[in-house]
């Protein structure tokens, strides 16, 4: 990629992250809610200490969080902290930092997201391509139709339905949590299998919830590509159908789909978060669920900024990878 383009793209990336973090900084400050006061009011209700003490504690905490300084200075400090990936301290799990909490939850979310995104992308594109391919047998073409009907169903609702039919009615798989109650985490086979069994339903919910979109767009793309001259030419050259399907058909339809994946990343990640919350898996989703219930504002904002940065960076990476799969876009 030409250096100028690279610099332009990186500048855009920084701009996106800056815009998101500025919104996240200023919106809460426009509101009348005081996170510290609410948190301590709740502690005072449950723990019981006098209100004069509370004012003192709040004042000292505000100083500690730097909330007594002028707004612009706070903003500067905040941006400075973001560069060091410092999202502040959690109110609910004080003195743990938000970065620590995210780091603990992240491996769970990444493994779930990676597996489901790749699987739904591959399955969806294959099914879509087969559905549009004129030589595929009739029953295989029909197989895509039910998946198209799934496009309108969000993954969370898919999760509720799967919980009902597979978890509740058939009792085949557990109803939630990361491992069965009473099991002690260790490196043994039974524990590992139990862990995996708890991951199947959330994974299926995410796959079923997003596969329809890929089928639909791939089928549309496949239909438009059929009349192209190079496909006709390849057929007249006498290439085997398998070769045409793989090298002429799939290869050309896949390119726009990768762009589509980059654009869909934000939705994919947010869906995964909500599904994790539904199944009470120990990932980012449960973290943000607990934070919302407990009014733990630094954690909510930290997670939001972290995910925004992650999505923006992933999008940029996909864009940089694009020339590798599309030889027409030259990396000079």
């Amino acid at each position: 990629m030409r250096p100028r383009l690279l610099i332009k793209r990186l500048l855009f990336l920084v701009l996106v992250i800056w815009a998101a973090s500025t919104i996240v900084f200023f919106i809460p400050r426009l509101s009348s809610r005081n996170a510290l006061r609410e948190r301590f009011a709740e502690l005072a209700r449950t723990g019981g200490f006098s209100s004069t003490d509370m004012e003192k504690i709040i004042a000292s905490m505000q100083k500690q969080f730097g909330l007594d300084q002028p707004l612009l200075q706070q903003y500067w400090q905040y941006l400075n902290n973001l560069v060091h990936l410092d999202f502040g301290v959690s109110l609910y799990k004080y003195p743990a930092t938000v970065t620590e909490l995210i780091a603990q939850a992240l491996p769970w979310s990444i493994s779930l997201l990676l597996v489901t995104t790749i699987l739904s992308f591959v399955i969806g594109n294959l099914l879509g391509a087969i559905a549009a391919w004129p030589r595929s047998p009739r029953w295989m073409r029909g197989i895509a139709t039910p998946f198209v009907l799934l496009t309108g169903v969000p993954p969370v609702i898919m999760g509720v339905l799967l919980l009902f039919f597979i978890g509740f009615r058939l009792k085949l798989l557990p109803l939630g949590g990361s491992y069965s109650v009473g099991l002690i985490p260790d490196w043994s086979w039974p524990f590992f299998l139990d862990l995996m069994a708890h991951q199947i339903l959330p994974a299926l919910a995410l796959i079923f919830g997003s596969v329809g979109g890929w089928v639909l767009s791939m089928r549309g793309m496949g239909i438009t590509i059929q009349g192209e001259d190079y496909v006709n030419f390849a057929e007249h050259k006498g290439l085997t159908p398998g070769r045409i399907f793989r090298d002429y058909y799939l290869r050309n339809t896949l390119l726009p789909q990768v762009t589509g994946l980059a654009l869909a990343l934000g939705t994919v990640v947010t869906s995964a978060i909500i599904v994790e919350g539904l199944f009470a898996l120990p990932g980012i989703g449960s973290l943000i669920n607990v934070a919302i219930r407990a009014n733990d504002f630094p954690t909510i904002y930290g997670i939001v900024i972290f995910i925004t940065i992650a999505v923006a960076v992933l999008m940029a990476i996909l864009e940089f990878v694009y020339p590798l799969i599309d030889p027409r876009v030259k990396n000079e």
Binding site: V16, P28, V269, G277, I288, R293, V304, V311
Partner: protein
Amino acid sequence: MTTVAMSPQQAIEQPNGLVLLLRYLRRNKGLAVGLAIFLALVLFTVIGSFTVDLKHAYPLSVGLKKPPSWQYPFGTDFFGRDLLAAMVVGLWQTAVIGILAGGLGTLIGVILGFIAAYFGGFADATIRTVCQILTPIPVLLIQVVIASSLDKRDVTIFTMAFIVVLLAWMGPTLVIRSQVLTMKERQFVSVAKLSGVSDFGIIFKEILPNLLPFIAAAFVSQVFLAVFAAFYLAVLGLGPLREPLLGNIIWAATGQGAFFNGWWWWPIEPSIGMILILGSLALINMGLDELANPRVRRTE
């Protein structure tokens, strides 16, 4: 030469609008099914709001945790809400959020898209850049920030709609902008310009009427996105907690471990309602795309 007897010119039958609409719907099956589901949902809330006691949609109005029966066809939940009444009110409120947020988002999009495309230059560059910067940000998460920094008592279905619309106008803006750009170069616009029609005259009399199918399609997809976003916020527990929005019911059900306790009807009913809403909107959206975009329009 013999004259060929010509049969008297038969009056060409001009079918009325309704027949044409029905004929079109027969071809565009997706649109037909979508509209049918949508009408069924509308009938459900309208009839329901006259026959069901809507006070029962709120906590502690009926017996707790009753499975579906003749008295309560949809059952009741842990907080003593009749789920039939809750669904009637919830569907209604979802519609309000969707139409309000979708309409506002489309309106903002149309205005900004017109300004950008018609006047070009600095305005276009600014609007386009802002859209490009905001688009990659996962909008829902920013909405989570906005919704969570509001006081819980301030959250109503109207604030939900405004939260959703704050970051959901970029899509229609870009769509309308590109459509106006192509339309601006058409001959009828040039003719109007040469005959001295004012800018506003061209916008409202020449371009806008031709854009209506696109605006309608953008509106439906905005409603879809708004309903989706409001649902996600509610599932996260950021909706108006007292109101029986479908997402709120699911949030409450999962919070109380409905499946663990065997109250299966509690989360399932709002889920099915949501599938019907989103499914019908998606089908209508696809059908309208076909209507607005003649290139993919099916012939009889």
